[in-house]
């Protein structure tokens, strides 16, 4: 903004703040009928009007400080959470950010109409400046809404990722005192944290003495994956359970050797069946085939 215009811009901002305060009620009524608010506050129109008033108040506060273009203006702080909830609700119904932006633009149209009606009879410079200020401010509000939309989306994605992790890591009870986690897919740090936590929790709940980590479904084992496995084994041991890593395919075994990864502290078996057989025999349980011809009883 250039210096000579500063004074004019300031007075325009104050004129705008006046307008917003004066027309608070009408503006809120119009906005409450727009799709952005109407579809979120479906139960009570009064509630929608109240929410709109809060936004109008925030805008007039921002206008009175003259920081029309500042997304970070303190006045927006109050309504940011509310706008975030609205954006999340729209996004939850499958609206794209672009569609939400269009709806936010609709707020400007309503405000501009109201201002035009008021200044129709005196189209002077001051009125023009206030209109300009309003356009700028509404643009900023739209940005604030977009910002909350995007961060609401990020939160949703993070939550879904977490759910996916939990779903992808079931702990299975194989025998009394023997549990197993079939690992499928890449074992990164976040995933191995979840695996470790659910495995240890299951050890407590099922009073397991043996825990089997089956890596048949893990595509590659590098030194990082090996480190995650060793940590899990060590943590299980601290809780009094012995861990067996099973499902080491020939290709994986070769990779481990080639990379010089030391898995000597970890008990390994080639298949889940072998690991279970080990756990059973350690508990003194023998599984044998019935002699041919013998009856069950």
């Amino acid at each position: 903004m250039q210096v000579p215009e500063q004074a004019g811009a300031d007075s325009a901002a104050h004129g705008l703040a006046d307008f917003l305060e004066r027309r608070r009620e009408q503006l809120a009524q119009r906005w409450a009928d727009g799709p952005l608010f109407r579809t979120v506050f479906t139960v009570s129109r009064d509630e929608a009007v109240e929410a709109c008033k809060a936004v109008v108040d925030a805008l007039s506060e921002v206008a009175s400080t003259g920081r029309l273009e500042s997304v970070g203006a303190p006045g927006f702080g109050e309504v940011r959470e509310q706008l975030g909830r609205m954006a999340a609700s729209r996004a939850g119904r499958g609206f794209t950010p672009a569609q939400i932006a269009d709806e936010a633009a609709g707020l400007r149209t309503a405000a501009v109409e109201l201002l035009r009606d008021e200044t129709e009879d005196r189209p002077d410079d001051e009125a023009r400046d206030v209109l300009l200020a309003l356009t700028v401010l509404m643009g900023t509000l739209r940005l604030v809404i977009m910002e909350t939309t995007v961060s609401a989306g990020e939160e949703l994605i993070a939550r879904q990722q977490l759910q996916l992790l939990e779903v992808a890591t079931p702990v299975i009870s194989l025998w009394e005192g023997v549990i197993a986690v079939p690992l499928i897919g890449t074992l990164d740090s976040a995933r191995s944290q979840v695996v470790m936590e659910s495995l240890l929790q299951a050890i407590v709940e099922q009073r397991a003495r043996y825990a089997i980590l089956d890596i048949t479904g893990v595509p590659t084992v590098d030194s990082l994956v090996a480190q995650h496995l060793m940590k899990t084994v060590a943590a299980a041991r601290l809780m009094g359970a012995e861990c067996v890593v099973s499902g080491i395919r020939p290709a994986i075994a070769q990779t481990i050797v080639h990379l010089g990864i030391d898995l000597s502290s970890v008990l390994t078996r080639s298949s889940l069946a072998d690991a279970l057989a080990y756990a059973l025999s350690r508990q003194g349980i023998e599984v044998s085939q019935r002699a041919a011809g013998a009856n069950p009883r």
Binding site: S151, E154, E155, A158, R159, Q161, L162, L165, A190, Q193, V194, E197
Partner: protein
């Protein structure tokens, strides 16, 4: 005692005795729980705080701990700063090595604490004391990166 989410509010605690270490652990646990850290993360943060507070006491000859809640968009975090005016650390890299010890411990204090939190920074000068700052963010599966706003 309710920690505000305002980043400007820091709580300072003195570190001068065994009992102070226990109090620091207690307070860090309270803040971490209120900020929404899960049990495992709480345990990691309190353990890291215990290691660093003990360093402050044993190597730094006492000092203080400062606890500050952090907020970055949707992410909540906790910053802990440990300050002493002791002899400082001559070789920070060496001090960060597993197994390196001058205090008769297992030498896992600094290096171990770093693995328990998201960030750990040391400012030190021989004879000028030591400031260790650590930061942990409430984890949401994919670690929310600070500084993206």
């Amino acid at each position: 005692m309710t920690p505000a989410s305002d980043p400007a509010t820091a709580t300072s605690l003195p570190i001068g005795s065994d009992a102070d270490l226990a109090w620091v652990r207690h307070q860090v646990r309270q803040f971490a729980a209120e900020l929404g850290f899960g049990l495992v993360q709480q345990t990691k943060i309190v353990t890291a705080a215990s290691e660093l507070a003990r360093n402050t006491l044993v190597h730094g000859g006492g000092g203080q701990a400062r606890i500050t809640p952090l907020r970055n968009g949707p992410a909540s975090g906790l910053q802990l700063v440990f300050i002493d005016t002791g002899p400082g650390i001559r070789d920070v890299e060496l001090a960060m090595t597993d197994g390196y010890t001058t205090g008769g411990g297992l030498g896992l204090g600094l290096s171990g604490a770093r693995r328990l939190v998201d960030e750990l920074a040391i400012e030190t000068e021989p004879g000028q004391g030591t400031v260790v700052t650590l930061v942990a963010w409430v984890s949401r599966a994919s670690a929310v990166r600070p500084g993206s706003g």
